[in-house]
Symmetry: C2
Subunit: 146 residues, 2 copies
């Protein structure tokens, strides 16, 4: 957590922005665990555990965290953007169950190489990968025998 705070502090300083209490509260809430999160999650979690922060401030802070590289947009589910840590996390891809909504992560290494080659061929400079597939998870396959 200290490392993330340090990165955040330096990022903010480089933009002439201040590491205020709400901004720190949000950062800590995000890095308290390793789960994917969305604005509502985060808002509820903060409201439960610590000083309140308005939704507006959360919405204003997320772009800063994105730009700093600490988090990234992971995927979109139920009309909501879902984020995850990017600092300290390998790239990975997501298997999203359309029946129960569960998200399973899978290895990225081999896929990344291939896609990088495709990008080279296309003369495209990748900054962010978004790889996912929708379908049925193990449990839901059993229960719906498909």
């Amino acid at each position: 957590m200290e490392k993330e705070i340090q990165i955040y502090r330096e990022f903010l300083k480089s933009k002439n922005l201040k590491l205020t209490k709400p901004r720190l509260t949000i950062l800590k809430a995000i890095f308290r665990n390793h789960e994917h999160f969305n604005v509502d999650n985060l808002y509820e979690q903060i409201r439960k555990k610590q000083s309140n922060v308005s939704r507006a401030t959360i919405y204003r802070t997320i772009p800063l965290l994105l730009e700093s590289g600490l988090i990234k947009l992971s995927l979109r589910c139920d009309s909501k953007d879902i984020y995850e840590h990017s600092y300290g996390h390998e790239n990975h891809l997501h298997f999203i169950c359309t029946n129960c909504g569960s998200i399973k992560e899978a290895s990225f290494i081999k896929v990344e190489k291939l896609i990088n080659q495709l990008a080279v061929d296309a003369n495209f400079k990748i900054t962010e990968y978004h790889l996912s597939a929708r379908g049925l998870c193990e449990n839901c396959r059993k229960s719906t025998d498909q």
Copy 2:
């Protein structure tokens, strides 16, 4: 185009739905060319070329086209869902330029194999792939020399 209409007609019949004039207008507008499209595009295109169809009807028709397998959700850009043909189109991945918004498609074959294997390992049954990467396209790399 005839083939798509046929598929659409049979799909609708199987659901006890009618192939009405607005539904046909929408289908034809979509398959008139091979571009990615969103609701606004489509609405404007229909408004220009043929009889009017309300936005509400477009929004109601898209889920039918998705379910019939004729189109698929391609990606999300500028807070809008973007669709594309899936009937008659190979799976492919998208390189999206964060600078100019252009979308370049790339081959999917090798990537697909790898991801299928990962899905087998995870006991996950894939029904739809969503593979994209954001970054800088060829042109934008030149002009911003990055």
